[in-house]
């Protein structure tokens, strides 16, 4: 708790200041592909998925959360805490549904996402080392986190890849202008 508060205070200041100074002339994008595996199980529900970035000393930022946002009385929010690492890092501080962050759960397959620096949930990025997290938690199923470390600004043509083993498949991060 204490640590988190400290991070929150210094984080906002640091990210804000550095972000404005180092804003690139042209918009840069993070292009992410996330594979949700097709599972052969008796009872299948699409996983809740959270995608967020962390940087040491900065407040984590949620980029996307896929959950049952349209159930009556907001019942789908009850299980958000099961995406537990995200919930602790960022989710519990968010007001949901959040514009540009909340999304519907996705079927098995490859999903492409794009985030633009300086806009929407990604916001301005100061130079430094970041980690993009993808966490999936499935009702009556398991949970998995996959991490994609990256440096900002990215080197031209940089690609970061990782492979989930149970609840997530291949994930890849590329950068574009």
């Amino acid at each position: 708790m204490q640590i988190r508060y400290r991070l929150a205070l210094t984080g906002t200041a640091a990210l804000g200041a550095v972000g404005t100074l180092a804003a690139p002339a042209t918009a840069q994008t993070l292009n992410l592909s996330v594979a949700i595996p097709r599972l052969s199980v008796a009872e299948y529900h699409r996983p809740y998925v959270a995608i967020w970035i962390e940087k040491e000393g900065a407040t984590p930022r949620s980029l996307s959360v896929w959950y049952d946002y349209d159930m009556k009385n907001g019942e789908g929010t009850k299980w958000l805490r099961d995406v537990r690492q995200w919930w602790r890092a960022s989710g519990r501080a968010l007001k949901l549904p959040a514009d540009g962050v909340t999304g519907a759960t996705k079927a098995p397959g490859d999903h492409k996402l794009s985030f633009t620096a300086g806009k929407g949930p990604l916001g301005a990025l100061g130079p430094g080392n970041y980690t993009l997290f993808i966490e999936a938690a499935r009702e009556v199923g398991g949970r998995e986190v996959v991490r994609l470390p990256f440096a900002w600004p990215p080197k031209p043509g940089a690609t970061v890849k990782a492979q989930g083993s149970t609840e997530l498949g291949a994930v890849a991060l590329t950068f574009g202008k």
Binding site: M1, Q2, N73, E75, T77, K78, Q85, W87, R88
Partner: protein
């Protein structure tokens, strides 16, 4: 951690007779970390030997109070008492951290009347003390008791409004929030006795699930001069936390792990039975909580 386990295991064997009579009181919430705008927790409350198995006696629910994140008083719902455990629900409708607590205070003691020693009736409170001691009583000796059994649950982000100490009995003031605990991380809690740092307080932490392992896995901690203890959680799960003074109970003087108890002696030394209290009754205070530790 390994070393602690070995020692804890050896001690557990020595302490069996003592712990068999410990009758630990506990409340076990269905969740401590909740999301959404509206949620429920259901709580089991019992008195038993092994945590967290209902096997002995239900805990009374009449004295259980709910403090909502903004400090206002909440209610328990659907309270029921079974043979071995009580159960009740708490409806969470406000974001933040709730306290669910059973807090009691009382006075025990004795007096001499017509050459005979008489005890104060059970349930005597400080304000009724004058009315229970008859005229002509001499050698009046009293001591206060304060018991606190509390758990915390959080809807959304943890908050700290409810942690303002009352100044009575043993209280826990979080440095690390009790609903922000993760295995492998260290958590710090400050204990107060009657509002002041409880220096040297013995605090016992036992992981739940005792039935399915041989070693108790008990962690015996001693508060520093500021009343602070640091716990590094070896694994995720529910943990029973206990501290007491003056009653010969677990964690307190005379109890296992307390001064004069088996845990205090050199490893391998035969445990000395605690001496019967002599002289005036001692101030007694006890603290119990159940903390949930999540996986990273």
């Amino acid at each position: 951690m390994k070393a602690t386990y070995l020692i804890a295991g050896a001690l557990a064997a020595l302490m069996l007779p003592a712990t068999a009579q410990a009758h630990r009181q506990w409340m076990l919430p269905s969740s401590t970390t909740l999301s959404g705008d509206d949620s429920w927790v259901t709580v089991d409350a019992a008195i038993s030997n092994d945590v967290f198995y209902f096997e002995h006696f239900p805990m009374a629910t009449d004295g259980i109070a709910v403090t909502e994140p903004d400090g206002s008083t909440g209610t328990i719902e659907n309270a029921a008492k079974g043979r071995y455990r009580s159960t009740f629900d708490v409806h969470l409708t406000k974001p933040g951290t709730y306290r669910i607590a059973n807090v009691s205070t009382g006075v025990m003691g004795s007096y001499m009347l017509n050459g005979k020693q008489e005890r104060l009736p059970r349930g005597t409170t400080k304000d009724k003390l004058a009315s229970v001691i008859p005229a002509g009583a001499t050698d009046v000796q009293t001591a206060e008791m304060s018991n606190r059994n509390e758990i915390f649950v959080t809807l959304g982000a943890p908050t700290t409004t409810i942690f303002k100490p009352t100044g009575t009995g043993i209280e826990m003031v979080p440095v690390t929030h009790p609903n922000d605990l993760v295995s492998g991380e260290a958590a710090t809690f400050q204990f107060l006795l009657d509002g002041k740092p409880a220096a040297d307080l013995k605090v016992t932490v036992i992981p739940g699930g005792i039935r399915y392992r041989d070693a108790l896995g008990q962690m015996d901690l001693t508060a520093d001069k500021d009343g602070k203890v640091v716990v590094t959680w070896p694994e995720p799960g529910m943990y029973w936390v206990n501290a007491s003074i003056g009653g010969g109970r677990e964690g307190g003087p005379g109890g296992p792990g307390g001064m004069g108890g088996p845990g205090a002696g050199a490893l391998g030394a035969a445990p000395t039975p605690p001496a019967r209290p002599a002289g005036p009754p001692q101030r007694r205070a006890a603290y119990v909580s159940t903390l949930e530790v999540l996986a990273p």
